[in-house]
Amino acid sequence: MPGTLRRTLSILDFALASLLRRKGRNAALLAVYTLVVFVTASLVFFTQAVKREAHQVLADAPGLVVQRTLAGRQDLVPLAWADWVRGLRGVRSVRPRWWGYYYDGAFGANFTVQASEEAALPAGSARIGAGAARILRVKEGDLITLRGHDNLPLLLTVQGILSSDSELVASDLLLLPKEDFQTLFGLPPDQATDLAVDVANPRELPTLAAKIAERYPEARPILHSEILRTYDAIFDWRGGLLVAVLMIAVLCFAIFAWDRAAGLSAEERREIGILKSIGWETSDVLLLKLLEGLAVSLTAFLTGCVLAYGHVFLFSAPLFEGALKGWSVLYPRYRLVPVVDGYQLSLLFLLAVVPYTAATLIPGWRAATVDPDAAMRS
């Protein structure tokens, strides 16, 4: 074993023994440090995993969605548009879609309602998301009542609960037959909410969008990539909100850690003097302080990250559920697929480990550069 490594290991041995001597103080520091890393890492893991989930769910979404606007707001699309779009070169299919939102005052919940043209979903029936079933307290075979635009009740039999694979976007979904959807909202039969357009070559999408916008100036063509970008923005925004709250906690910790790391006690200064007087160089003392700082910050970082991984991917992030998941008052319950972004983790490492370690070095360096004869005078 090279002498440098043996020297480092010996000093590391002493650094750990030094930390253990101040068990209470260092344990408190480690606990707070770990908590901050845990919350921050949970947020990073959670946001990344939710975005990935959304991307996967939207992978099957149409390449282009055509909406109509009226005075800048979304309006219904005439079905005649679908026929014209279908005639464009490169278009594989055009599918009118009917969807909207329904607020249930009794449960205080907002649902996404979508029409289905499947033959398997007969009139008077519905398939609903797991979150909706939970809120409405219904199961397969039960009846649900929705209040229509004309104030008349619409009775639907729950034919099934949607699978949890798509729970992120389907949790609050009510899937109705087209006729029931039109009855519920009083929609004219020759209009749809929007058009889903699929093309053979995705590279042609911008050209198609331009052609549609030219033919129908009030049309708003939305590309698949734009939908993904919107989802990213939503989850980044939600994550950002939480980060803003977290900043206060992080700031408090920074002050605490700085106070702990930057100020050496008289006892610590005396010990540095003793070490220098018995033959330690300034660089040896700095290595000792560096290893002490690294031992604390690395332990906090690794423990915090492992706990955050378990919190997010094994227990579905119960601490963030209210703030980050789902829409309105519905919070889908689902298990996220583990995904760890190396860049984000590296950034967290830099922010968590480097400042604290540096903060321990500065006072150590100050104390280590004085003459060791101070130890003889203590």
């Binding site: 020297r7 023994a17 001597r21 220098k276 018995i278 033959g279 060791p372 003889m376």
Partner: protein, 241 residues
């Protein structure tokens, strides 16, 4: 072995609170002899020890060492003397840990750390074989009758035991010179005599000893070869022991 030539040490030089702890002192410490610096508190004994032991640099004057291990150090002058007062810190540290073993008045042991680790501490930066170091430290503790305390935190030992640990620590790098500052200040007469007896064995082993003390049990000991008396930072008398 050690030549101190017209050495002065002034703390806080140029400030209103400046004071001269050692003032124009010249003396020689011979190899293999026991030399004592005596004098009342504040006479400059500890400062002179720290200057000789490369813990601080004099404000003026020169200190020469002869017969020190020079691996990694500047080449000595033609007469074999190494002038240490102008050396950079890393060389001073190298000399300090290779040449000198220190026994401090308050022992200066690291609290909360085991007895064995306290003894091993001076050798950590050298990067030697940990097993060999542990063995050497264990042997020293055995020699001073402290083996049973090896794993205990140093705080649990008595004053006499702590001093023996401090002596063991001073010897762990096998130094040529032992420097002790008021070593008997916290010991009763019996332990002080035992300490001096131990110094006698070191002297017989060929080590050079430099002790600062105002304890008659030390400076009147028959083991002492030379005594230098300091008062107000100046050397006021030199008498053969």
């Amino acid at each position: 072995m050690i030549e101190v030539a017209n050495v002065t040490k002034t703390y806080h030089a140029g400030r209103p609170n400046a004071y001269t702890a050692v003032d124009g002192v010249s003396l020689a410490v011979e190899r293999g002899k026991l030399t004592v610096l005596k004098g009342p508190s504040g006479s400059g004994k500890t400062t002179l020890l720290s200057l000789v032991g490369c813990m601080a640099r004099p404000s003026s004057g020169r200190i020469h060492l002869r017969g020190v291990r020079t691996a990694g150090l500047p080449v000595p002058e033609a007469d074999g003397a190494l002038e240490i007062t102008s050396l950079p810190e890393r060389f001073l540290t190298e000399i300090r840990r290779a040449t000198f073993g220190f026994i401090f008045q308050h022992f200066n042991l690291i609290k909360g750390v085991s007895t064995l680790e306290n003894v091993m501490l001076p050798a950590y930066p050298l990067g030697g074989d940990p097993a060999a170091l542990r063995r050497r430290a264990g042997e020293l503790l055995e020699r001073f009758g402290l083996s049973r305390h090896a794993r205990e935190p140093i705080d649990r030992l008595s004053g006499g035991e702590m001093q023996r640990v401090a002596i063991a620590r001073a010897l762990v790098n096998d130094p040529a010179v032992i420097i002790a500052d008021e070593p008997t200040a916290h010991l009763d007469s019996h332990l002080s005599e035992a300490f001096m007896a131990l110094m006698g064995t070191f002297k017989e082993g060929g080590r050079t000893l430099l002790i600062a003390s105002h304890d008659p049990l030390v400076y009147d000991s028959p083991l002492v070869d030379a005594t230098h008396e300091l008062r107000d930072g100046r050397l006021c008398a030199k008498a053969p022991a």
